[in-house]
Amino acid sequence: MKKTLTLGLAVAAAFAFSQPALADTLAKIKSSGSVTMGVRESSGGLSFVLGDSKFAGFHVELCERVLSDVRKQLGLTRMETRYQPVTSQNRIPLMQNGTVDIECGSTTNNAARQKDVSFGVTTYVEEVRIAVKANSGINSIADLKNKNVATTTGTTSVQHIRKHERSAGVDFKEVFGKDHADSFLLLESGRADAFVMDGQILAGNIAKSKNPADFKIVGEVLSVEPIAIMIRKDDPAFKKAVDDSLIAMMKSGEIAKIYDKYFIQPIPPANKPIGLPASEATKAAWANPNDKPMEAYAKK
């Protein structure tokens, strides 16, 4: 191990670079007349690709409205919006190096990430749940003993179930799918007995499956995660512009209409609804706008 570390340090020293000190997004947008929005290609109703480099979703539409307010605030007559697909691996580096100015996907606001980036007020509160086959007989975490539990590589859902594993003494085996569709296939094909993931992703995958009645979402809520629009750290002027615009939509009830459009009404590409009404936690976040990290929710 020591050898690896030394080697790692040597490689790192060779690539050492300095972070650009660029934290005035409003000035950047004003001088360039353009803004780059980071989007996800497959994050359920929050952000998804329509094909032909067009993106839609609850967070994408919120961002488009925020950016339109920003344009008015800056007094620009024209502002170009570019869409840059990001992944859970590269979204934070791309935000830090200025490739994207505002990320509208499905990023959980947590304390570790707040060291690197900043978040707008929470617009959606995700609940991590368990999906199983309807005839599996699994109804709670305790039933997962000695079962294969699927989750998706590059997500944090599995950490919550590990905590429950330790406190409840339930032993299970982790299986990682390479993306949500793959994890769902693990459940569908019987290689996994349960799929632990964000509720809206489970609901969306079940809605799209051949026989939605074969699956159900069961058990306790494993964790509550505030999902928010991500912006660069130490940029109070831009954060204020984003927050003001979001809070105005929350106060006017506009946000509930946009939510309804993506989570209740049928959405492309399958034209099936996700069918997930706004949770109490999400409604609470709209009623009392805040940018508290996930850790603050866990304490309740």
Binding site: G8, A12, Q89, I92, V158, D182, R191
Partner: protein
């Protein structure tokens, strides 16, 4: 750049730094996980290499025999496995084959990946073994048969000892490739180094440290194979022969 190498001493449940860097009593740290992932990478790679050498040598030899049926079998095998992308082959083994042959459903995904990666590489090894045999002058084979050896004996005592010495350098590359290609196993839920990197960097938000450690382990593994093959090469060299005495 702020380094945080302590990330490997954190446990995977609540991210607390563990004393002595290793977990105990059912808790594991990222270092434990990294070592286990390295073990999976090596297991997949070495077992696949065994499968690849076995089938690759057999098919390579068949392609140089005078029997048209055997040549056809060897050629068909090689073309089948080298004309389909590796990732597609892995998915075929994992998702398609078990739904066609139900008993395979109970086979662990680890073995399916070993078959997928091993047979893909066997096509490449078959090509190299064939090239090695064909590089020998035709008179060698005739001489073997003329002194009364059967065809298998000619291969065993005359052709193969020279052919395998000639192809040690390309086999070295292939053995190192299999370590690197084993990264595709992450796509079918094997918890190897690439999967560890994707998952651990997300859980810890320390992507650069995680990727550097994983890069180092891949390098060490592939380089170790290189040194072993080099030792084999110098051990078996015969003065005066191709690939021998320098």
């Amino acid at each position: 750049m702020n380094w945080d190498w302590q990330v490997f001493c954190r446990n995977t449940i609540d991210g607390e730094v563990m004393p002595r860097c290793f977990g105990n009593g059912g808790e594991i740290t990222y270092l434990d996980w990294l070592i286990s992932a390295w073990g999976w990478t090596l297991s997949v790679a070495l077992l696949s290499l065994f499968v690849a050498l076995l089938f690759g040598s057999i098919m390579g030899i068949l392609r140089t025999t005078p029997h048209r049926g055997l040549v056809f079998l060897g050629n068909a095998w090689t073309e089948l496995f080298r004309n389909i992308p590796l990732l597609v082959q892995i998915f075929l083994w994992y998702h398609v084959v078990p739904s066609l042959i139900p008993p395979l459903r109970d086979v662990p995904s680890f073995l399916l990946v070993v078959m997928g990666l091993g047979l893909f590489t066997s096509a490449r090894i078959s090509e190299q073994v064939r090239a090695g045999i064909l590089s020998l002058p035709g008179g060698q084979r005739m001489a073997g048969l003329a002194i009364g050896f059967t065809l298998p004996q000619t291969y065993r005592f005359v052709l193969l000892p020279m052919a395998f010495r000639i192809v040690i350098p390309p086999l070295t590359s292939e053995s190192m490739n299999i370590i690197k290609n084993s990264a595709v196993a992450f796509a079918v839920s094997i918890s190897e180094l690439t999967m560890f990197a994707l998952q651990a960097q997300e859980e810890t938000s320390r992507g650069i440290e995680v990727y550097l450690a994983v890069t180092g382990l891949y390098f060490i593994s592939a380089f170790a194979i290189n040194r072993i093959m080099h030792a084999v090469e110098s051990r078996v060299q015969v003065p005066g022969m191709i690939g021998g005495g320098k």
